[in-house]
């Protein structure tokens, strides 16, 4: 089990340049959207709360991209199929994914909490009330991970990127609205606590449900799609032909 978890964590920290570029583009778009939503507050760009908000958003993006990169790499290399050839139960693969995602959430929660605390301390506005928002951040992180994992284990990695971006956008708006405004006049302590409780319940519930589903029905299309296999074989054949043509060309030019 632990080697599986470690493999997941390793995958999460592997840098994918293409994906990183996409991350910055998405981050830029989210930033523009937020400035538009925030309106006049943006004029005070170094406001303490705004810095905290950016820290939360960077933390969310890091989580989303780490989850996405490991899932996409696994799909590209058919690692779900490889893992199933090892003497492990299918449910262990699900448990490893959920456990490693939980560890990632925990890691980012700690780091972002430290950075936000430092921001509040430097600006001399640190209070117990002002730091409670990190629990809302943790709730959003867990919901983001749940959404991604739910899609991955139900539908595979296809369109996983779009799902991740949609979840990130929703999570950011939710965090901004619930964390920095006071909707419906509800106490923030209650709001943050209930958000965290719901997120925890949803995360554990989906974990349990998906483990059960994978045990009964197996993994989604990654390993169960003859059409995909045909396409892959065709691609392999084309690659082989191309390599043969190149080799012939090279031989021809050497003879000349």
């Amino acid at each position: 089990m632990w080697p599986l978890v470690r493999r997941e964590l390793d995958g999460m920290v592997t840098i994918n340049l293409k994906r990183s570029f996409q991350t910055y583009v998405v981050f830029g778009l989210v930033l523009i959207l937020l400035m538009w939503v925030l309106g006049p507050n943006v004029t005070d760009i170094f406001a303490t709360e705004l810095i905290s908000l950016f820290l939360f958003l960077i933390g969310l993006l890091a989580a989303g991209m780490s989850l996405l990169s490991t899932m996409e790499e696994d799909a590209a290399n058919r690692q779900l199929e490889f893992l199933q050839t090892l003497p492990v139960r299918k449910t262990d693969i699900v448990h490893a994914k959920f456990l490693s995602s939980l560890l990632l959430c925990g890691f980012l929660f700690v780091w972002v909490s430290i950075l936000v605390s430092a921001n509040l301390l430097i600006n001399d506005v640190w209070t117990v009330e002002s730091i409670r928002i990190v629990f809302l951040y943790l709730a959003v992180l867990m919901l983001l991970a749940t959404g991604n994992l739910l899609w991955y284990f139900l539908r595979g990695s296809l369109h996983g990127g779009w799902i991740n971006y949609a979840l990130l956008l929703n999570g950011s708006v939710f965090l901004l609205y619930m964390g920095f405004y006071s909707p419906f006049g509800i106490s923030k302590t209650f709001l943050f606590s209930i958000s965290l409780a719901i997120a925890g319940f949803v995360y554990i519930g989906c974990w349990w449900l998906l483990a059960k589903r994978v045990k009964n029905k197996g993994f989604p299309k990654e390993t169960d799609d003859p059409e995909r296999e045909k396409i892959e074989k065709r691609a392999e054949e084309l690659k082989r032909r191309y390599a043969e043509r190149q080799a012939k060309k090279n031989r021809g030019s050497k003879q000349k």
């Binding site: 080697p3 199933q84 299918k90 390993t223 296999e229 045909k230 082989r240």
Partner: protein, 293 residues
Amino acid sequence: MSHNHEQPLLEVRGLSKSYQDFELKDVNFQMPAGTIMGFLGRNGAGKSTTMKAIMDLIKRDDGEIRVLGKSMPEEEVAVKEQVGYVGDTPLLNNAWTMERTLNFARHFYPNWNQDAVEQNLERFEIPRDKKVSELSKGMKVKASLILAMAHQPKLLLLDEPTSGLDPVVRTEVLDLLLGFVQDESRGVLFSSHITSDVEKIADWVTIIDDGHIYISEDKESLLDRYQRIVFLGSGGGKVTEQPLLFNCQPTMDGYVGYTDRFDRFQKVEAGNWHSERLTLEELFVLLTGRKGD
């Protein structure tokens, strides 16, 4: 895990799986210990689906699979400790080095044999510190085989491991498999549409076509049983009426037909004829072609 040699290494009973445009129908066969079974079939005949169902990589609709007497998927961990699998495309992570792949996999197997791994890496000149993406297809196949054999499995399941490889690498792979079954308690199920590879190393042949097992038999007895019968001279009418013959056709100087009961045929048929032993390829074409008749 000790294994009774009388017990088949692999038993597949009534295996079925339906897709939108393909169906695996009531697949039955068993594989004795100490054999290399060639699993022959055309592209899309159901070889990979059967292999994947054995490994529980796909969920079957019906049927029973037992490996070393243990039921799949109920005892999948115990079974997979004794099985090595190489898919039709190598399942290695392209971003990892071979070293990293082996270090990861060894955690899962109590029987991991590092000495054998070192020997095979050296023998096949697989660089351990190069990324898998930088290896050629032949090297990837050999690396997959080294990985699949590292835990000294009793059963190797190889899904078209030699397709797309050059003859030198193919021979190396086949030699490796022959070495593997020197231990009589082991076995290899080796799917391919390259009949010459199967003819070279297999001692048992299973032919699948259109999702249906057509034949599963010891290779030698199969090739003894099916023979080409060449009649010289006239008497074609009589030949075509012979119930032990099929696919009878006239030739320049007589008639040619095929029998699947050569023992019986030679007892009952007198006259001017001689028999020719078929190659596995001829037999394969004959059987898969005949089925459609």
